[in-house]
Symmetry: D2
Subunit: 354 residues, 4 copies
């Protein structure tokens, strides 16, 4: 039966839309950028061990670190920008926020593959435990790592004369989770006109609006009532925050859509802008932002990259999913979100005596 079940539930795909999952990195990296937000003792220790390991095992590889006071010993300083040293691999140590930060360092163009380690706490974007760094690096250098291209959103801001806000031409922001507009500390609701591909969709009177990627669908958008969207889908999610309407539902658009949010001319409040959790600027009545899929996704190295052949073989029998196909996402929504944690099953919960 097990075999038959496997066959039944994972037959060859009939539709040929390539998912973003099975791309692999071919060339061994020659430069690594380490990204961390905190410098707590466990982080320092982990970075030291990692650096030592890289220097020894892959002596030709250069290791970089963001320009801060406390850059780890043995790393070179790295500054983002047009003449930044090329980076072949980003290694992050910390929580989900550390990856969001790494993404922000590459807002003008392509992002190198990102290998993310947790330091013992779970996160949605954290496939690896720090203790597995050797295994994980090996799979990258051997060309066995597989990646999930996590879509980003490019956001461009315009003032009420429709001039781009900011100076340079390349000032578009790239977000991995979401852009959120919110009344912030203003006591009043704001009024935002929403356009899709230039067509007026509706006028939202609310605390704010979120335009999220599938990756971000489990972040702020989820708290505001949005659906959970698989990160291998290319789509935009529009979720209102406390709308003054009974009939405002989350919307999911194809990633070819351009969403424009324009603060209403008579909006009683401006809107503060947060991008991946960082507040950036204020949009006043008449000002607008356009949001669309960025050409530069974040290539995140998958957990399945380090599943060894034994495990892979076993999985092939057990699950119907070949090596490298295990889906972190199902595990995550169950473990981290406690998705559908049903009312405790009778079998499990014993009534304790008083």
């Amino acid at each position: 039966h097990e075999q038959a079940f496997k066959a039944t539930t994972s037959r060859s795909r009939t539709f040929n839309c390539s998912r973003n999952t099975e791309i692999s990195i071919e060339k061994p990296p020659r430069s690594i950028l380490i990204v961390n937000k905190l410098r707590t003792p466990p982080v320092i220790q982990a970075i030291d061990a990692l650096l030592e390991y890289v220097h020894e095992k892959y002596p030709d590889v250069r290791v970089f670190h963001e320009d801060r006071k406390d850059i780890p010993h043995g790393a070179e300083v790295w500054k983002p920008g047009t003449d930044a040293s090329p980076i072949d691999l980003v290694v992050t140590l910390g929580g989900d926020g550390t990856i969001l930060h790494a993404s922000s360092l590459f807002s003008a163009g392509e992002v190198p593959p990102v290998l993310s380690f947790s330091l013992g706490t779970l996160g949605f974007l954290l496939p690896f435990h720090i203790d597995d760094y050797a295994k994980a690096l090996e799979s990258v250098f051997n060309g066995k790592a597989t990646i999930l291209n996590r879509m980003r959103l490019a956001c461009t801001f315009y003032d009420s004369d429709l001039e781009k806000k900011g100076e340079g031409a390349n000032d578009d922001w790239q977000v991995m989770n979401e852009i959120a507009l919110h009344r912030g500390a203003s006591p009043h609701l704001n009024t935002i006109d929403i356009f899709v591909d230039g067509q007026h969709l509706t006028e939202a009177v609310s605390d704010g609006l979120i335009v999220s990627t599938p990756t971000g669908s489990t972040a702020y958008s989820l708290s505001a009532g949005g659906p959970i969207v698989h990160p291998s889908l290319s789509a935009l999610v529009l979720t209102p925050i406390c709308p003054r309407s009974l009939s405002f539902r989350p919307l999911v658009f194809p990633s070819t859509s351009i969403v424009t949010l324009r603060i209403g001319d008579r909006s009683r409040a401006p809107a503060g802008v947060s991008m991946d959790g960082r507040t950036s600027q204020i949009l006043n009545p008449g000002e607008l932002v356009t949001v669309q899929a960025s050409p530069f996704p974040v290539p995140c190295i998958n957990r399945s990259s380090i599943i060894d052949s034994a495990t892979a073989a076993e999985m092939q029998h057990r699950e119907g999913a070949g090596p490298g196909k295990e889906d972190d996402w199902v595990r995550d929504i169950n473990n981290l979100l406690q998705y559908n944690a049903t009312f405790r099953s009778k079998a499990l919960l014993r009534h304790s005596r008083t």
Copy 2:
């Protein structure tokens, strides 16, 4: 400003995922199938006018009708099946249900382009008013009609021995809106195991589950709390019906996913199956259904097909959307769903005296 706004909100797309919208029909149709559910006087009249018009204007075109007692005068009988006469165009007259019915007539393979007329009442899948039939047919025969490929779902049923239920090999059902499993008249909740690509996602204890297309996201799934998904996106929406869990949210999967629903062995109730609103069978404990994107979408002719050049030119200036780009969907969710019908604006609603 208008010009600039247009430029801002509909710049050339940066991501190159083709949307399903701009495909056009090239060859003039040589056979037409008329589909209608009712034979009320307005329907009879409309069909008669249409038939007369086709016979006169396109004398070589054959017109067919489903085999029923009351087939319209001048139409030939058509039976679905492997040796059915080839159909180049389906014309439906009636409500949304008529299109769902037309879709069911082509469940084994490709669906010809569908041109749908309402008889004066609005529907989500009804772009044309019957009075516009000449204009609409003309755009089809001139190769100017554009289509939206509405994704369908192929559903295959298995008994608890994992043998396909039903006989033939081609018994897969194709649904345009959704497949819904429901306890129906049973007083008890059912228990359904959900698998995605062979991986166990969760066990749902609920009244039932819906797997919907983006088209169906505005139908039953919406009533059950699901998000609204643009029909040009390829995706599957999983929405629970009255789950006994506080933490069950709608999920959106890429259209490459295979969703398997298996009635739990100890489920207290079986599940009745409805496909596009038609009840079909009962699934008992241990039985299952797999759901995946069908290779045979329904090519629906768009409203924008009959926008004349004057309107198109005007739109180009006004809206930033070129000819044939007007989106029926935005109009529909506003008009039909009263999407975000905000609490009546103070300016509009006068307080009437007692």
Copy 3:
């Protein structure tokens, strides 16, 4: 600080609406009715032990049981109705459904206090573990038991001529959880007109409607999206099931309201009626049901009844809640519903190595 906190959060009440919680039973019971749905070995054993204990400790007390083939040895037969033997105490053994069943035995008038035991599995209406039966009975016989009067709803059915359906005058149904109208196995939505105190509220097009008590707010109504209402509040909750409207929200009415549900004359489907999970009848177009607070609540004996003086004293210091004030409900929504089970806290969940 603890003391001050206690004082701060539980100061003497300023509003004088009596809650239903602190009523106590004064006279020792002279007759007990045992209610159980199953006769599995653990239930049989539990009943035998209980019976023996009662006969020995309270020899004058008569013990009754519903008239069934398998009534326990030592119990007298009891039949509901106008000349039923008077019952001073109901003892239930089983799940929540057993209490709903006990409630249904007293649908024509007053309900005796109900003492409910679980057999090891938790339930929302089950304060006591069977092993505590001696302690629990003692508190009842000593006049120390406190009760929560759980409101019920009286439902009266009328045909389309507005004649009462059924014969006798006392045919009102009394429900403890809810009355639910549902399209059941019909493929079509039904249309139900809702009146509140004779005023037309709205026409609901949906799968169905639920009118629930606060007790029932954690049952079906919750699954359909309703709020959680504390059982000591007197209120009616109206929750739609899959409404074809974006703007239908649950409503909470005072218990003085009369809610009337009338199947629309042109409803495409009738509505099956379920009361506390038991299907009873079908309402056809034009037929109606009125729902209002019943004068006969179910007096449920609280868990706090058996908190001994040591515990009570301890609680007084620890929690700010005096003896007999501990609220089962907070415990239940946390334990049973996993209320607000937040995304796993970083501190608690260790990332396991692959």
Copy 4:
């Protein structure tokens, strides 16, 4: 049938909880306080007309106005506080916010009956159109006005040493809609511990929390996903704002409950406090607020007060509701919230030709 229907749906109440609706004002007022927020020409005109009318018709009545630069001619200055002139009637002119403001003027004790006029725009708390002022005043002076006592919440703030914040003993705030805690402009979620009657309910990680009255259930709480609660019910509604949990549902408590919200010691953000839409203070980690029903509701004069006997007689036949029983609330949720505005009915919406 109509008669029978009326009898069926509004039979004499079986439960005897007095609703707050049918209280009437007996003594004719001797002093009136006029409250308005704006001094736009229509407001000025309306006040002048009203003042003239009162002076002429009820010459002994004193008219007061809040102490502002622009107090209307013919009115005396009034200052809130312990030695404020006694007020028998408050007249408000403006939107819902004007009534909230009037409520705030009487935060230390009893509130006089409030008669609210709109200036042509609808509001939830606005029963009368300004053109009806004569009729409305007459019903008050004749003792025919009926009132709905709208419950308020008393809020008391404590610092982390559990000392009352602010000086005087009577510093409790009284809110008519809600108290809302929100992270405001902070990028981080806050952590708030919720206690009910001294018992710990849960720890909320969210943008914020709302504790609302039934009156406020159609204000901010509704936007955040809360249920609609009839204002004649005495209850507290707890609604989370964007909680980071899938399983946080709105809760409804009896008005005897005391809800305590305490900012978690390790909360990453403080919480800004808004009361009826006015931001007041910041609560830092460790600080708390207790919320409970106030002994001082706002007695709002009902629309039904000015239904003349003809209308009343007519209503008696038509609706089954006696004079003075018409419920503004049903009208309001339909007109103002567009409650259950179903997908446009086929009969009403004609498909317009292109």
